[in-house]
Symmetry: C2
């Protein structure tokens, strides 16, 4: 494996010059640069990133820590991140925390040990410790999708409250009377924001808020199923339900199917986060669609900006959602 010295010898220049050419310095004689490039080609030289990273005290990798690789919501964010990263010369390492705080902090530790150029994280816990560590170490971080209490840094969020408001308003407009809500864990900003939007929409229609129509679950398919079952078994039978996450929506639908309830006739349903093939599911699913690619892209751009200047003013970006009406919420 040829090193920079082999190239230097062959091109009859010093290693320093080779390095300069390789890094695109403009203060180098074109003739020399040409010789260097020729030598690089002839030897098939590839620079050793490890050595480079060590010397520069920074790798060219970004860590993207997400809580579920198999949730299409996250993977389509990845696309947006990747596109920005690769056009800036970075590669993205996908880390799957599986909604597990321990795994998350071990990935954060790894990112620091590998001196990654930056970290994009969608927190699995509301503990700020891990992210604080990164901030203290001056490692550029961007928090995406979920708000982190007490974090003062770059953040990309979706306007959950507004999205939930639109969804609920839509159910109201369709004439549903007893609209329930299945939301996520109490400590998750997304779960709370979406619940708030639901409540405000009901209040705006001068309806009373009934806690018997609200369930907190865990953003998983099973959780959605159980919450739906609990709503049906509770005294206050709903005639519509707003589910604040894609996997839980799937679970809720399964429960309804098992109970033989027809959607949207017996019960109307609106989900949050699109699911792929939502249009193939019968009835087709009404969902609040998030701009996943854009979320990723925006986060990546913030990260790029922070890498350039660690001390730049933190920015907090709020993207909007779009209600995509399909059959599951359309009163016959």
């Amino acid at each position: 494996v040829p090193t920079i010295y082999d190239v230097a010898r062959r091109a009859q220049v010093s290693a320093a010059t080779v390095s300069r050419v390789l890094n695109g310095s403009n203060s180098v004689d074109p003739a020399l640069a040409h010789r260097v490039n020729a030598a690089v080609a002839e030897l098939g030289y590839r620079r050793n990133e490890m050595a480079r990273n060590l010397r520069r005290r920074q790798s060219s990798l970004w860590a993207m820590i997400i809580s579920d690789v198999t949730n299409p919501f996250f993977t389509s964010m990845v696309r947006g991140v990747e596109d920005v990263a690769s056009s800036a010369g970075y590669s993205v390492v996908l880390c799957n925390s599986d909604e597990h705080a321990e795994k998350e902090s071990s990935y954060i530790a790894a990112a620091m040990a590998e001196q990654m150029a930056g970290v994009l994280i969608s927190p699995s816990s509301n503990r700020i410790d891990g992210v604080s560590l990164l901030m203290e170490a001056k490692c550029p971080v961007v928090v995406i999708d979920r708000e982190l209490q007490g974090f003062h840094g770059d953040t990309v969020l979706v306007d959950n409250e507004e999205g939930a408001h639109k969804a609920t308003e839509h159910l109201v407009a369709q004439g549903y009377e007893r609209i329930a809500c299945i939301t996520g864990p109490r400590w998750l900003s997304t779960a709370l924001g979406r619940l708030r939007g639901y409540q405000h929409a009901l209040a705006a229609d001068k309806r009373p808020l009934d806690d018997a129509l609200v369930r907190h679950s865990d953003f998983r398919e099973r959780g959605g199923y159980d919450a739906m079952a609990s709503l049906l078994d509770g005294g206050a039978l709903p005639d519509a339900v707003f589910v604040t996450n894609n996997l839980m929506t799937v679970g809720a639908l399964e429960c309804l199917a098992d109970r033989g309830l027809a959607v949207p006739r017996d019960i109307g349903i609106v989900g949050f986060d699109d699911i792929p093939w939502a249009h193939l599911v019968r009835p087709t699913l009404t969902t609040v669609v998030q701009p996943t690619y854009e979320i990723g892209m925006t986060g990546a751009q913030l990260l790029l900006r922070r890498i350039e200047d660690v001390n730049t003013e933190p920015r907090r970006i709020l993207l909007s959602t779009e209600l995509r009406c399909r059959d599951s919420s359309t009163r016959p």
Copy 2:
């Protein structure tokens, strides 16, 4: 940021001893080891992986090069890989080649430059160049899911032919007469294997093979749609279709819906690769299910084995599929 020397000073030992403790050498006095660990804890020392990698000429990262991050088939393989990797102390870098040979080779180049410990690849092209480069550089590689012509190394595959055979046999048993097949690119082993299985199943039932019932497409949703349309518009209207990939199955279903054809009454359909929520789609989808997690796990184990001994005998593992019968292929 403390270095190994800071730890050494604090623990009153040499840097070499610290290194030995950190790497779990057993030839070190327990008392010293204890002092070292204490010092590590007090200083909050984390070793610099870059330096370590440079010295050892190998990083602790695996690259997993897949052709589509948003295809659930690949992401659930990732799970299997990750579990094995992390329990062996490696982290997995997910690289998305997007079925693009150029992106693929740039990731291969990156893996070599970063001296990654190993590479798992599901090739986006049948060109062997990239993989050969890795082999020459003695970089451990495992090829998964797709066969690579002329590659003599570790491979994990699924028995595509058998799976396709079962699927087609099932359609035959259901009494369908004119069974079509929508398969992938001619250069993709998976596409060909599945086509072969389809053909053999028909032959086994003494049916003639009719090229007018076969379409080669591109394993994407759009491609499935177009191929289905082309079949319907062709002279030989099929009454069932075997689609050899999940995304194309979705496209084919859309086309059928657009044409107002009822599944399974007018046309029966069986897909390859499960899709999440296949049970929610109406009609529920019959698919040939691949053991995705196991594919990933097996690939990772082969990689681990090869990392331990680069020259061990290559292994080729064939996993089986399972036909999951649901409504889309069940004759009323």
